[in-house]
Symmetry: C2
């Protein structure tokens, strides 16, 4: 939302276009150069960090709504979005109804019977992107955005700490069943580089001999006739993804264990 006027209009008339009992929460992970981060936002009227979120339009398919919300907040398009959990147990959400009306001026103007003042159930989605490629701009609701290292997260608003843990656990499980790396690594990369990507996301070291063997057995990598010189006696071969087989693996799933 770009103006205060637009925000007032949304609070006043939004119930005509949006479903009121559901929100969509977006946990956007960013990887770049051995670092795994998550995108947090500061909401207008609240003192703390949380995830970008939004409402579902009454006649809008859910996945389309998620893509719209992520694009509105981050300018990102066509990214990998994955539903991870729907949250409906949190006491705060059930008993002290959260709403956009935490802004005192809005609460004064609209009061308790506004459509935003009620319990919501939240559908969580996560994304995994290259955070160097994102172009993120604050607006009237999201006053500030920042990338936080997942190892150094502050206490978050509402139940958002639980959300990021669940999103991370789901993404880690997903590694064993879907290929990752496309758009996260340079076009050509070494086996140690892709291993670091996996290790960073999993948050643990993987066996140096076992990992490349397992990965190659998926047949989604092509070995190039080209090396990268990284030291006097070290020049590992370069690889790239076989796009077609990668897409196939995305569709059909894989079983990986290392």
């Amino acid at each position: 939302m770009k103006s205060l006027e637009e925000l007032y209009e949304f609070v006043r008339e939004g119930h005509k276009d949006y479903m009121s009992q559901l929100t969509i929460e977006c946990v956007i992970f960013g990887y770049h150069d051995r670092q795994l981060k998550v995108l947090l936002a500061k909401y207008m009227g609240l003192n703390g960090w949380g995830f970008p979120s939004g409402f579902l339009k009454k006649e809008e398919p859910l996945t389309q709504a998620v893509a719209r919300i992520v694009k509105e907040r981050t300018s990102l398009d066509n990214i990998f979005l994955q539903q991870f959990y729907t949250f409906g147990d949190n006491d705060d959400r059930i008993h002290s109804w959260r709403s956009m009306l935490f802004v005192p001026e809005l609460r004064k103007e609209f009061g308790e019977d506004n459509w935003l003042v009620q319990r919501t159930v939240s559908i969580g989605y996560y994304a995994l992107i290259n955070f160097e490629e994102a172009d993120i701009k604050p607006d009237i609701i999201y006053e500030e955005f920042a990338w936080f290292s997942i190892a150094e997260l502050p206490p978050l608003l509402f139940d958002h700490n639980e959300m990021v843990e669940k999103a991370l656990a789901t993404m880690r499980n997903q590694l064993y069943h879907q290929p990752i790396g496309y758009n996260l690594l340079p076009e050509k990369f070494t086996l140690p580089e892709i291993q670091v990507l996996y290790e960073t996301i999993l948050g643990k070291e993987l066996n140096r001999r076992n990992f490349p063997t397992k990965l190659m057995s998926l047949q989604i990598l092509t070995k190039l006739d080209e090396k990268r010189k990284i030291g006097q006696h070290r020049s590992p071969f370069l690889y790239k993804f076989d796009k077609e087989k990668y897409e196939e693996a995305l569709k059909n799933g894989i079983v990986l264990a290392f």
Copy 2:
């Protein structure tokens, strides 16, 4: 719901107690003796099979609602329930609003502005039980229940065919990350018996030598000093679950590949 009176009361007054934009759908899988089945219901006023479902109360935690709904429909208590997906893309659900008002008498009495006549988003949960242990009774909405083999499912109502596929795929992935078998096998079982359980759920054969090794490496089985005689020259050892380690594995997750 036990009486027509109770049903009318629910349609008339339900909006006071229940959230109207969400439903909970329960895919209940049953395993027994090499068979994997799923519980289907025939709804009042509809000609076809679907899953038992229900609404979330306004002040009720989601997981508590799911347990309540499953218990109401099936008399089952304390069972393993797992959220698998929230469905909000289906065109039918978005554009031709589904409601309890598919019963002509109800439609006549209450009309289009009833709280049940609107788009809903559905939260899917699955359960895995021993179908020999379930005690399932029809009522006024669920006129008939039946266990169908997952290999022989009829075309289902709404988007329920997509739901059962997604539930099955999630359960199959889950096998690699959580132990199963407790309450599905007799207290003492042979390795071939637990292998058949895995094979039945996965819908494929597993390597006879590899599987027991992988399974034993999880350290959730105790080998007993006891054998079962199943033929002149075949009497495999019996095993049981180490309850404590099993619970630990449930909590912390496992990584299995066979």
